[in-house]
């Protein structure tokens, strides 16, 4: 089943094509990353999905519900963590969450209160439950936004740069929680500028540039297609000619050799021993999403 579907979605702001025909499918249970530089159109796409912005043309659906025609079911299926930190200064954390549940038609009950406590506990906010929103730090407010997005138990969760301004430790806590939700069957769509996070967490990635999708594939395929595993060495003296022929790149003092897997390491080293090469420094670098990103964006 398709959890999120967008078909040729277009949105113009004046002369700017914020979305220039975006089509993508996110399947149920996927952990999907939407990457792209600032201004690529990620937030605009999320806004059209959430019904905060109307697309000029094209169609969007969440769990099979059209976001315009079946907006009630579509919105019930969707939890959005917005990019900007917003809060209502009139209320405490707990009140904020109770109201949010209420807007989705969930009445006050012991079960709801237990779920709110569970959310707060998972987000390390339990001790702040009765504090006014104004008294929270930026990172705490952002975690309240995460709790707000989840309070109606949506099957599809969209996080727009959820870790911006959140410290390392809490980022880990947050991701551990989101990962558990994903394992429990929730579909996750995420935007982030921390590419290593996307690489670790997401099974599939779409990259956007100027309102269009420029690459979309599984994380493994993207890494294989645009990035490599490399054995690099710094040696004393010159690299002998037979090895120069095999060298794929030289960057500074490093001589780089692309390898497909670790079985190729030993033959390379054996050759170096034979040529009496004295290795000063050596490392194997893994394929890396940052490299993929830079290559895709410069195409």
């Amino acid at each position: 089943m398709v959890a999120i579907e967008t078909r040729d979605v277009r949105k113009r702001y004046g002369t700017l094509d914020a979305l220039a025909g975006v089509s993508l499918d996110v399947r149920e249970g996927e952990f999907f990353a939407l990457l792209g530089p600032n201004g690529a159109g990620k937030t605009t796409l999320i806004s059209t999905l959430a019904g905060l912005t109307s697309a000029d043309s094209g169609g969007l659906s969440v769990m099979g519900f059209d976001v315009v025609k079946d907006y009630r079911q579509a919105r019930r299926s969707l939890g959005i963590v917005p990019q900007e930190i917003v809060f209502d200064p009139f209320f405490s954390v707990r009140e904020t969450l109770r109201f949010q549940a209420g807007y989705f038609g969930i009445s006050r009950s012991a079960a709801l209160d237990a779920w709110i406590d569970e959310l707060l506990d998972n987000l390390s906010l339990l001790d702040k439950a009765d504090k006014n929103m104004r008294q929270l730090s930026g990172g705490m407010k952002r975690r309240v936004l995460v709790a707000q997005a989840l309070v109606h138990r949506p099957p599809v969760i969209v996080l727009d740069e959820p870790t911006a301004g959140v410290d390392v430790e809490l980022r880990q806590t947050l991701w551990a929680f989101i990962r558990r939700l994903n394992q429990a069957g929730h579909t996750i769509l995420l935007t982030t500028h921390y590419l290593e996070e996307a690489q670790q967490l997401c099974s599939r990635i779409a990259m956007m540039k100027r309102g269009a999708i420029v690459a979309m594939d599984t994380t493994d395929h993207l890494l294989n297609a645009f990035s490599e595993r490399v054995l690099r060495v710094i040696i004393s003296g010159e690299l002998p000619p037979p090895l120069v022929a095999q060298r794929t790149k030289q960057s500074g003092a490093w001589h780089c050799f692309s390898i497909n897997d670790y079985a190729e390491v030993e033959p390379l080293l054996a050759q170096m021993r034979m040529q009496r090469v004295a290795i000063q420094k050596m490392e194997v670098t893994e394929p890396d999403l940052e490299e993929v990103f830079l290559k895709v964006m410069s195409r």
Partner: protein, 251 residues
């Protein structure tokens, strides 16, 4: 239904939590008007035979306070949520334009009635106020606060900044309230002004409301009822159309 109830409760709590500003302050303002005007104007010809100026003034002031506070409630709530961005919290859930309309307008009515009751209770201490027909009093109180609640929604949706909202308030709401006969009977005005007053829907709200107390009015209470109901329905239709189209909420 729960979604609507929650939004209504939120809108009521929003003003109630700062009741000192939203309820106590307007009541105090009305008391000041009452003290000053009844002192300055005491002995002036009463508008209706057998009705003192003070008696005449109190229902007018109560209605004026209700109108201003109903307007303030919806307009300030909307513009605050728009400017702080937390309007998002009610745009993401599956709430319909009817849900928005009724929740905001009902909360405005609640605030208006609380403020109006406050002014009226203080008025009771200062003068004897007869009640000729409680039903008309209630009808005009509800119509007036609902009408201004809807107007506040239109203004709150339209305005992008607080000063635009202030302009709406100063150039539309204030003149209409002050020229509606709160402080005088329009019969004491030159005839051209009298004519102009008949185009002011607030005049009918106040005139009809006074009828509920004194059984006397400048125009027929049924005319006032008709005009204000019509104005209320028009404003509501505009509000609902704006909400449905997502005007300035969902671009």
């Amino acid at each position: 239904m729960i979604g609507f109830q929650t939004l209504l409760l939120k809108e009521i709590l929003r003003f109630w939590k700062v009741g000192f500003q939203t309820v106590a302050a307007p009541v105090l303002t009305a008391i000041l008007y009452l003290l000053i005007f009844s002192h300055v104007m005491s002995g002036t010809n009463a508008a209706f035979p057998g009705v003192s100026y003070e008696q005449f003034l109190i229902p007018g002031l109560a209605m004026m306070s209700m109108l201003q506070n109903a307007f303030a409630n919806t307009s300030s709530s909307l513009i605050q949520s728009k400017i702080t961005g937390n309007i998002l919290f009610i745009l993401l859930p599956p709430l319909s334009h009817w849900n928005f309309y009724f929740a905001y307008v009902l909360a405005a009515i609640v605030r208006a009635l609380v403020v109006g009751a406050g002014v009226f209770l203080v008025g009771l201490v200062m003068a004897h106020i007869p009640v000729h027909n409680g039903a008309w009093i209630l009808i005009f109180a509800l119509l007036g606060s609902a009408m201004l609640g809807a107007m506040g929604m239109i203004a709150g949706l339209w305005a992008d900044k607080f000063d635009q909202l202030a302009a709406f308030q100063n150039f539309i709401i204030m003149p209409l309230t002050f020229l509606s006969g709160v402080f005088y009977s329009i019969h004491s005005l030159p005839s051209s002004w009298q004519l102009l007053s008949h185009f002011n829907p607030f005049f009918y709200l106040i005139d009809g409301f006074r009828f509920g107390f004194f059984g006397k009015s400048d125009v027929s209470v049924w005319l006032s009822f008709g005009v204000t109901t019509f104005a209320f329905l028009c404003l509501s239709a505009v509000t609902l159309a704006l909400l449905k189209s997502g005007y300035k909420l969902r671009q």
